[in-house]
């Protein structure tokens, strides 16, 4: 557990030493700020639900860009050799990498608290709905990061890892469209796998364990697949 923490700490501080993380955070907050202003000014509702729904789409791009270097870079620069010849398990490394990135996203989401605070200053927002929406957003972002960590383990190239991460998440984002086109029973099966579907309830102020379990399963599943990929990989 100590080593998971060490890896997480290392990845988190590495983000703070590179301009990429700042650029991503700034870009994400500018765009979500834009969504926030536009939705509040046009609808006149003191709510962040619309903004969160749209920001989820931005997260589809932000998460893989954050995670793309985590494992691909280790393989690409040869540091994997140094890291994996210390007495550390693949699982510890993978979990640490995930929590490092999750730490940064958590910081980003804490900064998003500014939106309900602004609403509170000028109006009377429903704090329950806002907080449950942010909780859902946080869990969804975690699932996205785990998927990004997974694609990062498949290649030596950051670029390939990032692009395939975005592709994988876009697919999960739109998977319920297939349900709409094909009707039942496909619709209900597919909607179980839709990352947006599970987020909707949080954004309406409903915290359902079923949805928490869904995102947690996604995280654990992708991280497990990542360790399998790394263990079976022929490092060269």
């Amino acid at each position: 557990m100590n080593k998971v923490w060490s890896v997480a700490k290392k990845e988190f501080t590495s983000y703070l030493y590179t301009p990429m993380a700042y650029a991503l955070m700034a870009g994400f907050l500018i765009i979500s700020g834009y969504f926030f202003s536009v939705s509040v000014l046009s609808s006149r509702y003191a709510s962040i639900s619309t903004m969160l729904g749209n920001a989820g789409m931005i997260m589809v791009f932000v998460a893989p860009i954050l995670t793309m270097r985590l494992l691909a870079d280790e393989a690409g620069t040869g540091t994997a050799e140094t890291l994996f010849t210390t007495p550390v398990t693949t699982g510890q490394v993978v979990a640490g990498k995930f929590f490092g990135a999750f730490g940064l996203v958590t910081l980003m989401i804490l900064l998003m608290m500014i939106y309900p605070l602004v609403l509170d200053h000028f109006g009377n927002p429903d704090w329950g709905v806002a907080l449950s929406g942010l909780l859902g957003f946080w869990l969804m972002a975690g699932a996205f990061l785990a998927a990004g960590v997974f694609t990062s383990s498949l290649t030596d190239s950051q670029l390939v890892a990032g692009v395939s991460g975005v592709a994988l998440l876009l697919l999960l984002w739109v998977i319920d469209w297939a349900g709409g086109a094909l009707g039942e029973p496909v619709q209900s099966i597919v909607s179980h796998f839709s990352v947006t579907e599970h987020f909707m309830d949080f954004n309406r102020g409903i915290i359902d364990t079923q949805h928490i379990v869904f995102y947690a399963t996604m995280v654990v599943g992708f991280l497990f697949l990542t360790t399998r990929v790394l263990d079976s990989r022929q490092w060269r």
């Binding site: 100590n2 290392k10 040869g78």
Partner: protein, 325 residues
């Protein structure tokens, strides 16, 4: 007591055989030089010993522990410096060393102590707070070596620890490695041959993944050439002197090398059992031919290496063998 036992190890990448039924041992406290041309399988072998790569077949035991069965136990005992000493460019030297110490499972007190000592040993104070990516190659090698030494592993495996360094830095690293020996077992790969000759007690030479020789550097020289060479320059007529020299007991062959301004130079091959230098001196005095130079030439590791790793020993080594991977 064998610390590292490599038994019949084979590694294939697809159809390509990188290591072919390799077997050798390293005893406790020994410094073993691991030699071979580029692409011979040195790095692959080291990766297998450190548990980074699984072998296709065969076993590796470190302190009696099977690397495949208990990789973590082995990794706790081995400090490994990969080729080119990869470090995280976006970490400071301080963070990097602390991180590696944590990965080795040291507790907070040990970390501070170990990092301090490694920084002193490798003189990293000037770059301690700099980003690894902004350090020169020489420093990066030293950072890598410092990280390898953290936690005092009893076994060190160093893959070309001096490649890419300037001569001054090479000497420093070499001194350091020699200083570490005694208490520790060291495997050191290199294609800088004089370095191995100076640092290592025993040499394993591999070529195309196979073991081609295993002995002390001087043992290899004697075993391989079967004679010792004497370089001799004498003032006088070449043919006369050549004849006189050939008559001396113990001389196997006299090879004329050059002649200028009445001085003839020869390579005299003599049997290793008999020192003929006094006889040569006396004969030359009798013959009234002053000796201007007489130097015994031991076969260098370089000659042995080329002879063992060239497919056809009669053929001169080609340029490709020196080129990088």
């Amino acid at each position: 007591m064998q610390t590292i036992e490599v038994r019949d190890v084979t590694k294939k990448y697809g159809d390509q055989v990188a290591v072919d039924h390799l077997t050798f041992n390293v005893s406790k406290g020994e410094i073993l030089g691991f030699l071979g041309p580029n692409g011979a399988g040195k790095t692959t072998t080291m990766r297998i010993i450190t548990g980074f790569l699984p072998p296709t077949s065969g076993t590796v035991h470190v302190d009696g522990i099977d690397v495949l069965e208990e990789p973590l136990e082995v990794k706790e005992r081995v400090g490994y410096l990969p080729q080119d000493a990869p470090v995280y460019p976006e970490m400071t030297v301080k963070h990097y060393l602390h991180f590696m110490a944590e990965m080795k499972g040291l507790n907070a007190g040990q970390i501070a102590q170990n990092v301090d000592r490694a920084v002193q040993q490798l003189e990293l104070q000037p770059v301690y707070n700099r980003l690894c990516g902004n350090c020169s190659l020489g420093y990066r090698h030293r950072i890598g070596l410092a990280a390898t030494l953290l936690g005092d592993p009893p076994i060190l495996i160093l893959d070309e620890p001096t490649s890419g360094l300037d001569p001054h830095q090479r000497i420093e690293i070499r001194e350091l490695i020699r200083g570490l020996a005694g208490e520790r077992t060291v495997i050191l790969s290199s294609h800088v041959l004089p370095e191995v000759q100076q640092t290592c007690e025993r040499v394993v030479i591999i070529n195309d993944g196979r073991l081609v020789a295993e002995d002390t550097p001087s043992g290899l020289a004697a075993q391989l050439t079967g004679y010792t060479e004497l370089k001799l320059s004498v003032i006088g007529a070449e043919d006369v002197i050549s004849e006189v020299l050939s008559a001396i007991p113990g001389v196997q062959e006299v090879v004329p090398e050059s002649r200028e301004d009445g001085t003839a130079t020869f390579a005299v091959h003599m049997s290793p059992q008999r020192d003929i230098r006094a006889d040569v001196f006396n004969k030359m005095v009798e013959n009234d031919s002053p000796i201007v130079e007489m130097t015994p030439q031991g076969a260098s590791l370089e000659d042995i290496f080329i002879q063992l790793t060239t497919e056809d020993p009669a053929q001169e080594p080609t340029e490709e063998e020196d080129s990088d991977e």
